[in-house]
């Protein structure tokens, strides 16, 4: 054991004695009390910040301001033309899309809605916020509708050979 380690151990062992001695002096007593109050305050603040971030949830998309209002087919064409530029413009933005439902697809207990450009096969796909799932389940192929959602991004599918643009936390606007 090194001298330094031994010194540390002795200091630790004598801590209660050191504190008792410090408390005997009124000036030290005051400093310790304030230190305890500040430490307690910081602990509470830290706890409050952690609680705030841990319990954060996404806002209701229906109440969010729309960044872009678009028509489904020209919107798909923008991604087909230059998906990098389109992603720069639309990714993680709230977008209101007007178009015709081409398919409804069950995904577990939920439902996804698709709007497809039938000439190329590229499509938009909307996953819905839980609180708006019932609105999605009322839609059927052929319905002309407006869906508002958070645009994730558009990517090229090597499996299907087409572009697809995904939306999350969507809601039906013209319900």
């Amino acid at each position: 054991m090194t001298d330094q380690t031994l010194h540390k151990l002795v200091c630790l062992k004598n801590m209660p004695t050191i504190f008792r001695r410090m408390l005997k002096h009124p000036k030290n007593n005051k400093i310790l009390k304030w230190s305890a109050v500040i430490a307690g305050g910081l602990l509470l603040l830290g706890g409050a910040v952690y609680f705030y971030f841990a319990t954060l949830t996404h806002d209701d998309t229906a109440k969010l301001k729309v960044d872009y209002v678009v028509e489904a087919i020209p919107f798909i064409k923008e991604f087909e033309k230059d998906y990098l530029a389109a992603n720069k413009k639309y990714a993680e933005k709230i977008i209101s899309v007007k178009g015709i439902v081409t398919a409804t697809e069950p995904a577990d207990t939920t439902m996804n809605i698709k709007m497809t450009d039938t000439t190329t096969g590229s499509y938009l796909i909307f996953a819905f916020q839980d609180k708006h799932m019932s609105e999605a389940k009322k839609l059927k192929p052929g319905d002309n509708t407006v869906i508002k959602g958070s645009c994730s991004d558009g990517i090229y599918s090597d499996i299907l050979g087409i572009y697809f643009v995904s939306f999350k936390r969507s809601t039906v606007e013209n319900n």
Binding site: L56, P106, N112, I125, D153, I155, D158, F164
Partner: protein, 181 residues
């Protein structure tokens, strides 16, 4: 004679239908990196693309990283940032593999079959071999599949303080399910 021709046509059409590649654009990929001290890092992507080719015994998946939906927006932000999945640079995760025991499944007969799938999983531009048990349920022309496996985040270049602090599992569970037509 007419009956024979009709039977042949029906058989040919049925075989062609079974041989076709089955796909889904609403496959579900779930990511669970929760730990005993933090249950927040878990998400689902319900718009993944899946494909099974019964003729070639191939299995494929593609999932847009940005479409993994977390309950907590802060965790979602961290998941996509440069030091984690870097979704701006690597927008999708892909899997391409084969059924290693194709004789265990009969795509022409309804039933539940246990198979093993092996292939290349690419996340954040890094590719690693993955082997996973999977179930394929054949119902007419529809295939319902499920699979689950664990990955090592470090193998895909994903490392950070939350992992060493035990807030994010170093070996999250990936679950995949799809209904393919």
């Amino acid at each position: 004679m007419k009956k024979t021709i009709l039977s042949l046509i029906i058989a040919t059409v049925s075989m062609m239908t079974f041989a076709q590649k089955k796909t889904s654009t609403s496959a579900i990929v779930a990511f669970d990196a929760s730990t005993a001290i933090d249950n927040l890092p878990k998400a689902e992507n319900k718009t993944a693309i899946a494909a099974i080719d019964p003729a070639k015994n191939t299995v494929q998946f593609e999932a847009a990283i940005k479409n993994f939906a977390f309950a907590n927006p802060k965790i979602q932000e961290h998941f996509n940032q440069e030091s984690w999945l870097n979704s701006d640079k690597f927008p999708k995760a892909t899997f391409s593999g084969i059924i290693t025991n194709p004789s265990a499944v009969n795509f022409k007969k309804d039933g539940a079959y246990n198979v093993t799938v092996e292939g290349d999983l690419t996340i954040k531009g890094k590719t690693n071999k993955v082997t996973a048990p999977a179930t394929i349920v054949v119902i007419g022309n529809t295939l319902k599949t499920t699979a689950a496996f664990n990955i090592k985040l470090a193998d895909f270049g994903v490392e950070g303080q939350p992992i060493t602090a035990g807030k994010v599992s170093a070996e999250p569970k990936i679950s995949v399910s799809a209904e393919l037509n």
